[in-house]
């Protein structure tokens, strides 16, 4: 029966391949070298050696997801993955070769050549000049990259940029100061002008696409209420806001917050953090990346971050059950947000630039690594 059908179908194939044939490559092909550029400089792949910064830590995780099979519950990696390291120059480059014995099947590309320490500007330029196939792009550069004909892939917004007040700092212990700050910040302006509309204003700790209840949190500024609150406090509040020295986005957002706070009668000075956070900071800008698309898991992870950093505010979530309902998740979020220890600002997507020959790339969901084993290359090598 099957053989008979096969014969019929082959005949049909010849008969139907008409003059209007449109050749589209839908099925994957094997072969080729994928050229990747990243901003981080990974000096060691040894998990025991701590990364110098969050960028290197994130890059180490991405590399680990390519060379290991899976991640254990304790977050260690195990088992041979889709690729193995064939060349390694610490801090500069790594070459990965396809593992023919990969449990999930051999990757489509033969190898990956990854260059490290490439600046955002260089990555963008190399994408434009077709000198690379895959590179991360900063969200604030996404629009400009698109205008320069770079092929863009954008994930769901899964990274929260938040203002976090340091527990124990006298200047921020008065909840009215924190609430005034939360109400003074114009999040839409951050999204529209700094992020060039790549991102969403954040009012809650989870994005709308994950929780379905983000619309219940207002992200609109209320400068009148902010002024009213700050006017109740004498002497006038003065805060020091820290941000990552190497992050241009955080610098721009911090400068914007300084302006918004001044309108509400609060004096904020911004202070770049080069290594560990200095002791004089009252608040810091932090980026929290979701580790799961599921709202309960992501929220629990964010609460763990608060605990790890000894930041108050997570008390409302202590009774969050493993199978929490949307209403329980919302209650936890509401409790944290109403404490004004954590002030959600914007949701950022992950943005990737791709060359024209990259096929079957799908922006990873939160908690997933780059699915480069599933990517294949269409057309001739450059």
């Amino acid at each position: 029966m099957l053989r008979r059908l096969a014969a019929v179908s082959l005949a049909l194939g010849l008969a139907l391949a008409g003059a209007t044939r449109v050749e589209t490559a839908r099925r994957p092909r094997y072969g080729g070298t994928l050229r990747v550029e990243i901003g981080a400089t990974v000096s060691s792949l040894d998990p025991a050696i701590a990364a110098a910064n969050s960028e290197e830590a994130a890059a180490k995780v991405q590399l680990a997801t390519l060379i290991y099979d899976h991640r254990n519950p304790d977050k260690t990696f195990a088992g041979p993955g889709a690729f193995r390291i064939s060349a390694w120059e610490p801090g500069k480059s790594v070459t990965l070769a396809a593992n023919d014995d990969c449990r999930g099947g051999r990757p489509f590309v033969d190898s990956i050549e990854m260059r490290m320490g490439r600046s955002a500007r260089d990555r963008l330029l190399d994408l434009e000049l077709n000198k690379t196939d895959f590179a991360e792009i900063s969200p604030e550069q996404a629009r400009r990259a698109g205008e320069r004909s770079v092929r863009i892939s954008t994930s769901q917004p899964d990274e929260l940029l938040a203002l976090v007040f340091v527990t124990g700092r006298h200047a921020a212990e008065d909840v009215r100061v924190r609430e005034a700050m939360a109400r003074a910040i114009d999040r839409a302006a951050i999204v529209n002008f700094i992020l060039q509309k790549t991102g969403d204003p954040a009012g809650g700790l989870l994005p709308q696409w994950s929780s379905g209840t983000a619309f219940l949190f207002s992200a609109a500024p209320d400068i009148l209420r902010a002024k009213e609150l700050s006017s109740q406090i004498t002497p006038s509040p003065r805060l020091v806001l820290g941000y990552d020295f190497g992050d241009p986005l955080e610098r721009s957002v911090a400068e914007r917050i300084v302006v918004n706070a001044r309108e509400a009668g609060i004096t904020v000075t911004s202070d770049p953090i080069q290594r560990s956070a200095p002791l004089h900071l009252d608040a810091v800008l932090e980026r929290w990346r979701m580790e799961s698309q599921h709202p309960r898991e992501s929220l629990a992870n964010f609460i763990d971050v608060l605990r790890t950093e000894s930041i108050d505010g997570g008390e409302a979530c202590e009774a969050l059950p493993a199978a929490a309902t949307p209403e329980q998740i919302y209650g936890c979020e509401r409790g944290v947000v109403n404490g004004y220890r954590v002030v959600p600002l914007v949701w950022l997507p992950q943005v990737y630039g791709l060359s024209a020959r990259v096929r079957d790339w799908k922006a990873p969901a939160p908690g997933e690594g780059w699915p480069l084993a599933d990517v294949w290359l269409d057309g001739e090598a450059p």
Binding site: A6, L12, R26
Partner: protein
């Protein structure tokens, strides 16, 4: 719905409600309208009067939203003199919304979700007992064949075996369950025996790759698509189903085509049905005018098994 209405009723003193519905979800206007009617009926059943003006005693808004795990329906209500808004939230499971449509004298397609799983799915079979009282789903993954008995509310694993191979299965492996031919085909492997009697199946190496690759039917403009020639005809014409042209990162469709004779040109017939991910495999289902479709749902990450039925709309 009932729980939301009960929550509203429990904390509302006014007998008159102003009701408003906002649809932020992927539910259709028709579905949203049905939900509005049902919610209003629930409230009326609890003794409330629904007024059209916002000057009513209590304003109630039902927002149909959606998250990663489910639909989320949010009721917000506030009495005329109350300072605070009450909120109640319920999760509503997402059902498959792959729908049906069709026009006169055309191929009308309907899809029915039969199975879904997080692991890769290459093909599936639905075995029905002679009296149609019970059914079994057979799933084929890379190196895995599993049997599940369908119960009233859920399916239970009943049998399974792994197909060994010296090298790992290809990342783009294909596979076919051929119930009539009494065999399961995988790359370089073939398992023979009665599919309904799994304990007697035996797997041996096979070099006949054409059995997997040669089954494709090509439609002009869809040369790399998944496709299947169905058994029945529509208005005397052959019926072919074919997937779209996108790659495996995009939602996909299955479109019906009609063909007067095997030497002619296939033409589009009827409306396509849409899926939330690529159609990875499409095989004719037995002698019927139906096909088996395996879809990778990009929203849920699950691999889904559909029976797509084509009827001739007259």
């Amino acid at each position: 719905m009932q729980s939301l209405a009960a929550r509203v009723a429990a904390s509302t003193a006014h007998a008159t409600l102003a009701f408003d519905l906002k649809n932020m979800s992927s539910l259709s206007v028709v579905d949203a309208s049905s939900i509005r009617d049902a919610m209003q009926a629930e409230l009326i059943h609890r003794g409330f009067r629904i007024a059209s003006t916002p000057s009513a005693g209590t304003e109630v808004r039902l927002t149909l939203s959606g998250g990663a795990d489910s639909y989320v329906w949010v009721a917000e209500w506030r009495g005329r003199d109350e300072p605070q808004t009450h909120t109640a939230i319920v999760a509503v499971p997402k059902a498959s919304d792959a729908g049906a449509n069709g026009t006169k004298n055309s191929v009308r397609l309907e899809s029915k979700l039969m199975w879904q799983q997080p692991d890769r799915l290459l093909d599936f079979a639905v075995l029905t007992s002679p009296d149609n009282s019970a059914s079994t789903i057979v799933t084929l993954g890379p190196g895995r064949v599993r049997w599940y008995s369908s119960g009233a509310f859920q399916s239970e694993f009943s049998h399974g075996f792994d197909v060994g191979r010296k090298t790992p299965w290809p990342r783009d492996a294909r596979g076919i369950i051929d119930v009539e031919g009494k065999k399961v085909l995988l790359p370089e492997m073939e398992c023979q025996g009665d599919i309904e009697n799994p304990t007697q199946m035996k797997c041996i190496p096979s070099k006949d790759a054409a059995q997997l690759d040669g089954l494709r039917i090509r439609v002009s403009g869809h040369n790399d698509s998944e496709s299947a020639l169905l058994g029945d005809r529509c208005d005397g014409r052959f019926v072919i189903l074919a997937s779209g042209n996108g790659d495996w990162t995009q939602p996909d469709t299955i479109q019906g085509y009609a063909l007067t004779d095997l030497e002619g040109q296939a033409t589009v017939s009827g409306s396509p049905i849409e899926f939330d991910g690529p159609v990875l495999a499409l095989y004719r289902e037995g002698k019927q005018s139906a096909a088996r479709a395996v879809v990778h749902n990009l929203k849920t990450g699950n691999y889904e098994a559909y029976i797509v039925t084509a009827t001739c709309s007259r």
